[in-house]
């Protein structure tokens, strides 16, 4: 697994990639390169037929009887403060009619269906609709097939996970009301990346605003095979098929990493390195699979799901780390049925031959290994090694269990310590972990030990010294790359401070990791050495010395690694800022600029830091530099406007907001900040108008509701202000200012002086 093969690193991007390389020689991919699944059907009829019946082929689409499994029968979804009626209107359109007290009824047309409720451990279906700002947004009304009921995600507001909708809930308990998460990878918004459909892009089109496009909302042929238009044209022109190159790569010849990379385009958590990915482009230039570990690690020390993840946990499985297992070792990729590693078709997901085609020794005498009756569920390999685990972040309200793709060995005592339901307990819920562990010990004796990295992650404690922690966690020659990444993140969290240097043991081990074959690990290690080094002019202070020749190291790395390196430094900067360490936070961003000089994203982050730390002059310089590097950043104009306003330059601020609007006429934050400026300058009418425009584009902007309420109140329009004040509280229940303003408004409306 490598971003680039060790010892074979060109100074520019390229080489072997984790997460899938380009689908052929083409690296610049545009929408017009795609032909659609129907164009594949004529020549590849068998594969098309299998795909069409698969969960990929039926993953979603335009709303209609073929795609919608949720009941759009007019039965209301009842909230305490609203009723939402899913129905098919007289035009045959699927709509949600939202009736809420104090608010005009509105009808939301469903523009896309996401999912078909296919997943065994909890299949769901969601819906998207076009929003006024050009984005396409997830509606908060999801349907669970297993539950037979509507549910919503309260994660961003009520924080109760996914819950069935009940009559004691308010509509705003659903975190996505008003709809906020968008379809497509676009960091301007909370987004679900580009996996709920095919060739989904959401991009800024200067002068127009955000534009979302997709080929289809199923998972089409080109999602895996890459763009096919060139192939179709070539083969149409050469029906004799006597070509050596067919403008498309064969997935049959994929290596392990390439094969996994195709599936991990969607079936893995990933951080965005650069937006605009389309299948066929170098995946690593756009996404990083291990960077989600930074911060609230979604994985447990042994790689299992701690919060919410996908099948990318396979990277922590012994079958991958010690073998060559890929997704298509078990999953037939067209029909998405099951087969074994030799492509022998299997009946279903419980067929032992998924495992015994490789683990043949276990098949010779299964009962000697399973200690369960041969035909019992406990004798199935997947019962013990791939149990369905309800993902913790979802909560227990809605079935969303996914088969554990780390393929662990049952360790009931450890499972309990990690807060997991052990595979044993799935069937033997009447036995405690101690009893279950006793059976495991009796039957199998000592269990296969974890690799040293995972063992270190499980054993290390914050109280340990740096050297001991380094020896426990950092094993450059052992363990899976995912575990190495997790361990280094753990080490950074506990024992690394910006500019404070490293002990010899840690420095040596991290130095070795900085030469890892894996690009994510390498980038993290480089960033840690860089972060721990003293800043310019600080060498020798407190015994610190540079741990890295930044220029020399950066010259060896492709841009994909350099970007990861700066993303890590950016993360560490955020952490420092959260601790109130503004200086170190700034120093870390300056270091990032040493890696990618003039990078607009780093300059933008630097400007935000200065804005946040009350240094508008520095912020202005950083934002201006960012815009010089990339002038198509409406939000940087907005932030530059904020900085200029803070610096006492309202006219200049207005020019920046207007520049943002020129780039994106549907940028709500430009109008919102314009409103703020107007409000501060007592241009109440202008402020009201600006806030109303902001809210028309982004109804979820609670602060715009609040400020509009304030502006209306200042205009003496108390009754008009009240609903906005209420929505400000409804959408941001933790906002004390909003509560106070609402209280004042209600008092004013009641004639009580405040």
């Amino acid at each position: 697994m490598s971003l680039l093969a060790c010892g074979d690193r060109p100074a520019s991007a390229g080489g072997t990639v984790m997460g899938g390389g380009p689908d052929g020689p083409q690296v610049e991919v545009v929408r017009s390169d795609f032909a659609g699944s129907e164009s594949c059907r004529g020549c590849h009829a068998d594969q098309y037929a299998e795909w069409a019946g698969s969960t990929h082929g039926r993953a979603g689409g335009e709303p209609g009887p073929e795609t919608v499994v949720a009941p759009f029968d007019g039965t209301p979804i009842v909230f305490a403060d609203a009723a939402v009626i899913p129905r098919v209107d007289s035009s045959g359109r699927h709509v949600f009619e939202v009736r809420q007290s104090g608010v005009a009824a509105r009808t939301v047309q469903v523009d896309g269906v996401i999912g078909g409720g296919h997943m065994l451990g909890g299949g769901t279906q969601g819906f998207v609709a076009h929003a006024a700002d050009g984005t396409v947004r997830f509606l908060p009304f999801d349907y669970s097939l297993q539950l037979g009921d509507w549910f919503c995600n309260t994660g961003t507001r009520a924080q109760r996970g996914w819950v069935p909708i009940t009559a004691d809930m308010s509509l705003a308990d659903c975190g996505d009301w008003p709809p906020a998460r968008i379809l497509g990878t676009y960091s301007r918004y909370a987004n679900c990346q580009s996996c709920h459909g095919s060739q989904i892009t959401t991009r800024l089109e200067p002068g127009t605003g955000a534009v979302t496009r997709w080929a289809s909302l199923d998972i089409n042929c080109e999602s895996c095979h890459g763009p096919a238009r060139g192939h179709v044209e070539l083969m149409t022109a050469n029906p004799a098929s006597d070509l050596a190159e067919i403008a498309m790569v064969s997935r049959v010849t994929d290596g392990v990493e390439e094969s996994l990379g195709v599936c991990f385009r969607c079936h893995a958590l990933k951080d965005v390195v650069a937006e605009g990915y389309l299948p066929g482009a170098p995946f690593d230039d756009h996404y990083a699979l291990k960077l989600p570990v930074l911060g609230d690690d979604p994985y447990l020390p042994d790689g299992r799901v701690k919060t919410f993840a996908y099948q990318g946990t396979h990277l922590s499985s012994s079958c991958y780390v010690d073998g060559n297992m890929t997704c298509v070792s078990c999953h037939e990729p067209h029909g998405l049925g099951y087969w074994d590693v030799n492509r022998t078709p299997l009946a279903d997901e419980t067929d032992d031959r998924q495992c015994t085609a490789c683990h043949a020794a276990k098949a010779t005498s299964p009962e000697a290994h399973t200690f369960h009756a041969p035909e019992s569920p406990g004798s199935r390999c997947v019962s013990c090694h791939m149990p369905y685990q309800q993902h913790p972040e979802v909560g227990d309200g809605v079935p969303f269990a996914r088969s554990d793709h780390t393929i662990p060995i049952p360790r009931p005592a450890l499972d309990a310590r990690l807060g997991l339901v052990s595979a044993c307990r799935v069937c033997h819920g009447d036995i405690g972990e101690i009893g279950l562990q006793a059976s495991v010990d009796e039957w199998w004796g000592a269990t296969k030990p974890h690799d040293p990295v995972t063992a270190g992650l499980l054993a290390v404690t914050d109280a340990m010294g740096e050297d001991l922690a380094a020896r426990m966690l950092l094993h450059p020659a052992d363990g899976a790359f995912m575990a190495q990444f997790q361990a280094l993140v753990r080490f950074v969290g506990g024992w690394v401070r910006p500019g404070a240097g490293l002990g010899d043991e840690a420095a040596a081990r991290i130095g070795e990791l900085a030469a890892s074959d894996d690009g994510d690990v390498r980038a993290l290690a480089l960033a840690v050495l860089h972060a721990a080094s003293p800043g310019p002019g600080q060498e020798g202070q407190g015994g610190t010395a540079p741990l890295l020749d930044v220029a020399a190291a950066a010259a060896l790395e492709p841009e994909a690694v350099l970007r990861r390196w700066t993303m890590v430094l950016g993360f560490l900067s955020d952490e420092a800022l959260a601790r109130g360490e503004t200086g170190p936070a700034e120093a870390l961003l300056e270091k990032a600029l040493a890696v990618l000089p003039g990078d607009p994203a780093i300059l933008r982050a630097l400007g935000l830091l200065h804005n946040q730390s009350g240094n508008p002059r520095s912020a202005i310089r950083a934002f201006a530099a960012s815009l010089a590097a990339d002038p198509t950043q409406p939000l940087v104009h907005v932030n530059l406007g904020i900085a200029r306003a803070a610096a006492g330059e309202p006219a200049a601020a207005i020019r920046e907001y207007e520049a943002a609007i020129a780039l994106n006429p549907r940028e709500p934050l430009a109008y919102f900040n314009l409103g703020n400026l107007y409000l501060r300058s007592d241009n109440v009418a202008g402020a009201i108008q600006a806030y109303e425009r902001a809210l028309a584009l982004a109804p979820e902007l609670a602060r715009a509701e609040l400020n509009l309420a304030i502006a209306l109140a200042r205009a003496g329009r108390i009754q008009e202000a009240l609903p906005h004040g209420r929505r400000a509280v409804e959408f941001a229940p933790g906002d004390a200012t909003a509560r106070r303003v609402l209280s004042d408004l209600e008092a004013a409306a009641n004639g009580t002086p405040q």
Binding site: L243, A244, I246, V252, D322, A361, K362
Partner: protein, 446 residues
């Protein structure tokens, strides 16, 4: 006609009868029997006839002088042009091999009749001795014709009973006329045996080929290769290079092992249906072969067979003396007739030792031709980290599933559970170790 003893240059030698006239229409059976084809091949008449005329070695060894054997084996016909039909075929033997064989078959400690050439050869190969000659004697199956009290004959060359369903007529005729080594390491890997040149006349070739081609497999299913596009050809080539184990044993271009036949020009040698069937199930098609069956699905079997049958390149044999160790170290054990100490040893010697070495040192004769060095089964420290089940799985499923070399084939289709377990047990003998404790502790039958 019985052989007779005649004096030649003061040395007693054997002579055969006058050979049949080229103008006579030879009867294939009357050729095959005295040629002794059945000494090495099943599916043809046995070797009794030739054994009755070929001189035995052992008691009669003293009748021959080492130097005579040394020269005779270089080109029997030049020494004795009149020894048909019970004639001594010509082997492509190196000087060292001839020296070692001469010392073994004559058992002459005084080295009578030694000439300058013999002495010079001894000077060049001072360590080539009788024991090496004995190995060669068995490898070349000399005992198939020449009775020897120390070495038993073996019939390990390809079964000819279905030759008509196996090879093309043109190829067979050319091969009989001018045989070259197809399996440079021998029909049993490591033995080094090879088809000798019988110096057949065209009429004899035609007769024997006709006889052999008439021997067909009645139930052989028809199969024709799919016409592959250049793209499909490149796909198959990539799979052969990067995923399948074929090139662990077979050479293709400059890549690949030396255990099996080269893969170029198969279309000129083999019948397509046989190629397809052989890839799928060699164990039943060619009993005794070390080639394991494939676990691949029919479409992939079609792809690889079609590729091999359409790949450009002329068929050619392999010079067994080029690029191969002078004498495979594994041959020492492969030809040892001493009782095996362990059931797994026999299987190991034939199927594993060519790459992993006879002692498990990773130094089998095929190892230099592999991109990844074979595991050293004698490495106690490394092997003690691998559970028995992992060894079993690797033997059964091949190296790829374990993240090891994909050139290590899956023997699951050709070895039964008992054979694989015996191999695991034998590997434990080689490493003098056990699997890790966690893989052994606590396991008990319920």
């Amino acid at each position: 006609m019985l052989a007779r003893i005649v004096p030649v240059a003061g040395i007693l030698v054997l002579a055969g009868a006058e050979r049949a006239s080229a103008q006579e229409a030879p009867d294939a059976r009357s050729l095959i029997e005295p040629l002794g084809c059945g000494a090495c091949h099943a599916g043809v008449p046995g070797a009794e006839a030739v054994r009755s005329v070929a001189p035995a070695f052992g008691d009669g060894a003293a009748l021959l002088a080492p130097a005579y054997i040394f020269h005779y084996m270089e080109d029997p016909q030049s020494v004795r042009p009149d020894i048909a039909p019970a004639r001594m075929p010509r082997y492509e033997l190196s000087e060292r091999e001839r020296l070692a064989l001469a010392l073994f078959v004559t058992n002459d400690r005084e080295l009578r009749g030694v000439d300058d050439a013999f002495r010079a050869a001894q000077g060049r190969h001072p360590d080539a001795g009788r024991s090496e000659g004995r190995i060669l004697f068995e490898a070349l199956n000399c005992a198939g014709c020449h009775v020897n009290p120390e070495v038993a004959p073996h019939q390990t060359a390809p079964d000819l009973s279905v030759e008509g369903s196996r090879v093309h007529e043109d190829w067979l005729a050319g091969y009989l006329e001018d045989p070259v080594a197809i399996r440079p390491a021998g029909p049993v890997p490591g033995r080094g045996g090879r088809m000798p040149d019988f110096r057949l006349e065209p009429a004899e070739v035609a007769a024997i080929a006709g006889f052999l081609l008439a021997q067909t497999a009645p139930e052989a299913p028809p199969w024709e290769p799919t016409a592959l596009s250049p793209f499909a050809m490149s796909k198959a080539e990539a799979l052969l290079r990067d995923r399948w184990s074929c090139l662990g044993c077979h050479q293709l271009g400059e890549d690949g092992g030396r255990i099996g036949p080269r893969l170029e020009g198969i279309v000129q040698r083999l019948v397509p249906a046989y190629v397809r069937a052989l890839i799928h199930d060699p164990v039943h098609l060619a009993p005794g072969t070390v080639m394991p069956g494939s676990l691949e699905q029919p479409d992939r079997l079609d792809l690889i067979a079609s590729y091999l049958l359409q790949r450009e390149g002329e068929w050619s044999g392999t010079d067994p003396l080029a690029g191969m160790p002078a004498l495979p170290s594994s041959a020492a054990r492969a030809t040892d007739t001493a009782p095996l100490e362990h059931a797994g040893e026999a299987v190991y010697t034939v199927r594993c030792a060519p790459c992993h070495g006879i002692q498990g040192d990773g130094d089998g004769f095929n190892a230099p031709f592999l991109p990844v060095s074979p595991t050293q089964h004698s490495d106690s420290a490394a092997m003690s980290l691998r559970p028995d089940d992992t060894l079993y799985d690797g033997i059964h499923g091949g190296g790829w599933i374990l993240g090891k070399s994909h050139r290590m084939p899956a023997f699951g289709p050709s070895l039964d559970d008992g054979q694989i377990r015996s191999l695991v047990a034998y590997i434990r003998i080689l490493c003098n170790c056990q699997g890790p404790a966690w893989s052994r502790d606590g396991r008990r039958e319920r």
